[in-house]
């Protein structure tokens, strides 16, 4: 199986995260729709405030990535934003973020979409863009304000958050990409048609043929091709729509809890869709040590997985505290009830 390995090594020059401060406990969703009975898939999820959307989340992540990269934003050759909740159907999110960080006008801007793996796509393309000499730096972002239909199983977990990565030359990087790999098939497990507000999904079909088939295959193939087993990695981050799926997949791949616990954020912030796996990666990078080997695997419905193997460099420790850590954002928690959530996420239609 062909891995994606650029001829010139590139890595992460800066990274940043953002998680809104509001939290909706899953028990509160159960109180409204299930008489408070039954098990819930996570403890609580992060909810964007009324003045937050994918652009504002992506922008704060990008500013944190710039603070760690300490580069001139005019040298960013592309600003790419992956999301399934872009604020406009037509009009790019990327140009607003590029303008706000001072990267315009000599830059490439584009919005990407592939359900929950739209963020890792921007990173994978950025590796090629930088390695090919097209630009010194690429800014890749995954962010979402995910919407679950009221009363649907996804409402427990559909959350808000995002992460941003500045890809650049290996010698400037805090972590270097050893290789990446993509595994995609036409598997309609989750979708949203253009004129509808809430997505639909194939319920149990989202498990075995979708999440597990793609995440497990991408993980197994990249490890096998590079000659690694689970024991070679300090950390693993798998896409996290809930707590159960990544824990089950991680264990089946031979990983232990100590390897996934740092990057498994879904139990306390929910599924941030295009932000999910790469937000988990920011939490790992916040505490990683030089020499740590990291496996990060996304999953996007429709369906596909992007897998990355990274190696942390000596530069990582000097970069970690140049911006708020992901834990800093997790810590500023403000609990809200369902009614406040309905107001903040604009779920009341007054007509």
């Amino acid at each position: 199986m062909p891995l994606m390995k650029p001829k010139t090594e590139v890595g992460i020059v800066g990274y940043g995260s953002y998680i809104p401060r509001y939290r909706l406990p899953a028990r509160e969703v159960a109180r409204i729709w299930n008489d408070g009975e039954g098990s819930v898939p996570i403890k609580e999820k992060a909810v964007g405030g009324p003045d937050e959307d994918t652009m504002t989340i992506g922008l704060e992540s990008a500013r944190n990535a710039l603070a760690r990269a300490q580069i001139n934003p005019q040298n960013i050759g592309a600003v790419w934003v992956g999301s399934e909740s872009h604020p406009y159907a037509v009009k790019p999110t990327s140009t607003i973020i590029a303008e706000a960080i001072g990267a315009t006008p000599s830059t490439q801007g584009a919005d990407w979409q592939f359900a929950c793996k739209a963020g890792t796509e921007t990173i994978q393309a950025g590796i090629g863009f930088v390695a090919g000499g097209m630009a010194p730096y690429v800014l890749g972002i995954g962010a979402d304000t995910a919407q679950g239909r009221p009363g649907d199983a996804l409402e427990f977990t559909a959350a808000s958050g995002g992460a941003a990565y500045i890809i650049g030359a290996a010698e400037e990087s805090l972590a270097i990409f050893e290789a990446s790999y993509s595994y995609v098939t036409d598997t309609p497990d989750f979708w949203r048609r253009p004129t509808t507000h809430y997505p639909s999904h194939g319920q149990r079909f989202t498990g075995e043929p979708a999440y597990f088939q793609h995440v497990m295959s991408a993980s197994e193939i990249i490890m096998e091709e590079l000659g690694y087993t689970a024991k070679d990695f300090a950390h693993v981050i798998l896409h996290q729509p809930n707590r159960k799926f990544p824990e089950r997949a991680g264990a089946a791949l031979g990983f232990e809890k100590a390897q996934w616990v740092t990057g498994l954020l879904s139990p306390i912030i929910g599924n941030t869709y295009a932000g999910a796996s790469i937000l988990g990666l920011t939490a790992v990078l916040d505490i990683a040590k030089p020499g740590d080997k990291i496996l990060c695997v996304s999953f996007g419905s429709g369906a596909g997985s992007d897998a990355f193997v990274l190696n942390a460099t000596d530069k990582i420790t000097e970069k970690q505290h140049l911006a708020p850590t992901t834990q800093d954002y997790i810590n500023r928690r403000v609990e809200i009830d369902y009614a406040t959530y309905v107001r903040y996420r604009n779920k009341l239609k007054m007509h």
Binding site: G49, D51, E99, D328
Partner: protein
């Protein structure tokens, strides 16, 4: 509608990045940009200056009867922010309970939705200020 779009678009650098000016003669920093220095009245071309976004609450009030376009946010707090570099500006506060706001509270600039022009219009983004994020080191 077109006039309204242009009016907001011209303010992008101010609203997104707090870009003001610095007087080449006396060095005073101004926000928003001015044709004439507010201190020494020098009227030569002033270079751009990007403010840090750090400041403190100088004074504030809570708006309960919001003007058109802002009703969905009410009640919200508007503050005079004293920027670290000197100027005072007016901005909405966010990520804070109205009852928690105090004079002297350290704040930082964030970019948020200011308002939307209905379901079909453009989204106006710009600066708001929030309590400075506690960062664990």
């Amino acid at each position: 509608m077109a006039t309204e779009i242009a009016r907001h678009w011209r303010l992008n650098s101010q609203r997104y990045r707090l870009v003001g000016e610095v007087c080449p003669k006396c060095g005073v920093k101004m926000f928003p940009p001015r044709d004439v220095c507010t201190d020494c009245l020098d009227d030569s071309r002033q270079p751009d200056f990007e403010f840090s976004g750090h400041g403190e609450v100088y004074s504030f009030t809570t708006v309960h009867n919001a003007p058109e376009g802002y009703q969905e946010s009410a009640p919200y707090t508007v503050a005079l922010i004293k920027l670290e570099e000197g100027p005072l500006l007016t901005a909405q506060l966010t990520d804070v309970e109205n009852s928690e706001v105090e004079i002297g509270m350290p704040v930082e600039m964030v970019t948020r939705k200011l308002r939307t022009q209905g379901e079909e219009g453009v989204i106006i983004y710009g600066y708001k200020f929030r309590p400075r994020l506690p960062v664990a080191h």
